[in-house]
Symmetry: C2
């Protein structure tokens, strides 16, 4: 059998062969920057066949990539296609990235909040997949809103509004498009280095000066194990900082949906209410967490973007922009600049036209002790708001509105949630999942879960990684 090792004359400057790189990683070797760049460029150009990339991904998944290899892969993927340069915006470019969740609509708040405080927010977002929602799907529930802008149009919206939320262009980070889809099919998704390279390559290709990472923990998080989430957060901070982008990561609670609404249009409605300066709802359906997390994230963006000395003063600036309506104005300007019809927000309730509506009530009296948020995300998906496979359409009006949240006391027969679906046939399974996912208990939950449990800056991330045993 032909083995490159067996052939004579293998000089060090010789051309690279994918088979050698696969075998090296399979045997636990450390790949050079040149070898990793060969993989990323071969993925982007299609010169390396999918089966070889798949074998390499599995070897990397099992044997792991070092910090150096992770950085090299991130940069090679960033460089695999065209890039966006925010230099001509004349502002510091800052973005936020969340690792996904249920009801996570902070992007609609932090983008205009940070823009209102003087930084540019060039935000390249994703779509719903599995139990997690997608920022682009939510925005597309606004009639006319275009997410697929060219980089020139992106720049033009950013110049005009200070913020723009768009989809990835085909030419941006092509290596990630290939590898991301391949990882999904080959069981090589949940690896910190591969996740880090996938997320950061796209963020770094947008030319960011600073980046705030929101890494979820708890029952709705992609990485439910808190140590895995911490490791990923620290790895991303260290990698992005090595690439020259000031970065911070917050570990935040996804032990229940964020805010009251989970779906598409209903999440925008909830966001706009807060941007209008309305105080968060009180009582069992309070969405204080959504407002608070958005202000904390925006505060860090404003601070890292040089517009506030501390994240706390950034928070205060963001809150001022929320209360004086300047962030709302920026959001509407952005929607209009991207072709969206803002008039739908005049009477947002009226625009909401779900096919069917059903209220689920408490089956006994008690406290909401736990919410299996991943299961709730699947319920939202199966109501029609999300998708199981890439490319499937979504229903903008489907989703769940929660009337009682974790820790709330409810009486038997009181409403827990309202389900919105395209058709009545779609209600049964989500209703069943919802009832299974919510645990009612006689006693109030004893532990209070902090909204932000840990923050990694460059120094603390590097220290964490030095001590981490993977």
């Amino acid at each position: 059998m032909t083995r490159a090792d067996d052939t004579p004359d293998k000089a060090s400057a010789a051309p690279l062969h994918m088979i050698d790189i696969i075998r090296k990683k399979r045997d636990g070797g450390a790949l050079s920057e040149r070898e990793i760049r060969f993989v990323a460029n071969g993925a982007a150009s299609g010169s390396i066949p999918l089966e070889q990339l798949a074998a390499w991904l599995m070897a990397a998944w099992i044997k792991g990539l070092s910090l150096d290899e992770t950085r090299a892969l991130t940069l090679a993927m960033r460089d695999s296609g065209e890039k966006f340069s925010p230099v001509r915006l004349g502002k510091t470019a800052v973005d936020k990235h969340s690792s996904g969740g249920v009801g996570d609509k902070t992007s609609f708040l932090v983008a205009p909040l940070a823009a209102a405080c003087g930084v540019a927010v060039p935000m390249i977002s994703g779509r719903a997949l599995g139990h997690t929602g997608g920022t682009l799907d939510k925005l597309e529930s606004i009639p006319g809103y275009r997410t697929a802008l060219s980089l020139d149009e992106f720049e033009s919206v950013l110049k005009q509004c200070g913020a723009s939320i768009v989809s990835q262009t085909p030419a941006l980070v092509p290596a990630d498009r290939i590898l991301y889809a391949l990882r999904d099919r080959t069981g090589t998704v949940e690896n910190p280095s591969l996740i880090c390279a996938s997320i950061l390559s796209k963020k770094l290709a947008a030319g960011l000066d600073a980046l705030v990472l929101d890494v979820k923990t708890g029952s709705g998080a992609f990485l439910r194990d808190v140590r895995q989430a911490e490791f990923l957060a620290a790895l991303m901070v260290a990698t992005a900082e090595m690439a020259g982008t000031r970065t911070v990561a917050l570990l935040t609670d996804m032990g229940q949906p964020l805010g009251r609404a989970a779906g598409n249009w209903i999440e925008l409605v909830e966001s706009i209410e807060l941007l209008r300066g309305k105080q968060p709802a009180e009582g069992p359906e309070s969405n204080f967490d959504l407002r608070e997390l958005s202000l904390i994230l925006a505060g860090w963006m404003i601070h890292l973007g040089g517009k506030a000395d501390t994240p706390e003063s950034g928070y205060e600036r963001a809150e001022a922009a929320l209360m004086d309506g300047s962030a709302l104005r920026i959001f509407f300007e952005m929607v209009e600049a991207q072709g969206g019809d803002v008039s739908v927000f005049h009477d947002a309730e009226k625009f909401h036209k779900p096919g069917v509506t059903e209220v689920v009530t408490a089956w006994e009296s008690g406290f909401i002790a736990e919410m299996d948020t991943t299961a709730l995300g699947w319920a939202v998906q199966r109501l029609g708001a999300g998708r199981e496979k890439a490319g499937e359409p979504v229903d903008p009006h489907a989703g769940i509105l929660f009337h009682a949240r974790r820790g709330a006391q409810v009486k038997r027969g009181e409403p827990l949630a309202t389900l919105y679906a395209t058709s009545a046939a779609q209600l049964a399974e989500p209703r069943e999942i919802l009832c299974q996912a919510i645990t009612l208990s006689k006693d109030p939950p004893h532990a209070v879960v902090p909204l932000v449990s840990r923050i990694f800056t460059r120094d603390s991330a590097e220290k964490y990684l030095q001590n981490a045993v993977r």
Copy 2:
């Protein structure tokens, strides 16, 4: 991201998904027979895409397959296509398989020897690849010889002659055709379980009653580490026995080419000389090893096929069939039955028409202490006798004839080997490789390497595997 684990309602009788099987093996889990059969059938039918098979192969390579998993994969691959049934032959069906080497031409001897002693030898062989030669390429140097027979033609030749050497039909073990080619591209070749399943699935699909395995060790072996070779040998014996085929494995020396000739036509010539009852050459170019190993292997085939009480008496019967010309008659009958022109053997030297010939002489006086037989195999390949990639043509007349073998004493200027190539331009690199591969020493080599170093029967194989730490 969509994960099957996250979805509710996963019953045990649910349909299988390749992504789950990949993840299970990736995490070191043990796959069920049903899961392994799903993989083999999906490979054969094309319903599992190559990238998923590649990821699974890498996970299996790194995490390993248990004895049960190896057996399940072997049987599932065996069952992935049509099979040959030797029942209508009315004889015990026995085959020999060698793990490949340089100058290994025992098939041309053992097939007619065993057939002459009353067993049927349905032999499905392979082609040259890399540094190893291929039985089919050698046979095809006989004008007219057809290796691609249908199973009906195969049966007809076997009924007439008792032996037939053919190529794998496209419908036989399709799972292996897919996986074998994929392993070559994805760095997942050298794994004992995958090698075992690949070899045995094809042998078991031929419906064998018994099988003799010749596992090479030494500088020309595919597995140079003797413990790896032992493990593979024991694994194959245990797996084939579990599948109901009486099996024995011999670890044999490939520390020098087997016999004097390495190429295509010249290997047939050497074989026919021995089948004609000619005593092996004497002195430095003795090919006693080829005759001896062929008789030992044939002796085991005859014994396992029930035509001799012991392998030793099988050896004696084989030697008698060699000396009385009955094996030679069977070989010629087989060649004619498969369309070959036996007249070329009347004056075999005259039929040999290499493009160019060059004699390489000893550059100093001394003993041949070592031969890097893998390198010698590459020299043979680069003379034109072999191929680097599947599908390339071979030159039937190219090759090397060795005039001095390991341990021989040579004087400076005496011939070491004759090179045959298609054109003069092809001589330089093989000559250089040959001179690098042969170590001349002042002292005779002190260690005598046994031709057969170890034999595994069912009992000793199972004992070995129980003690083996992989």
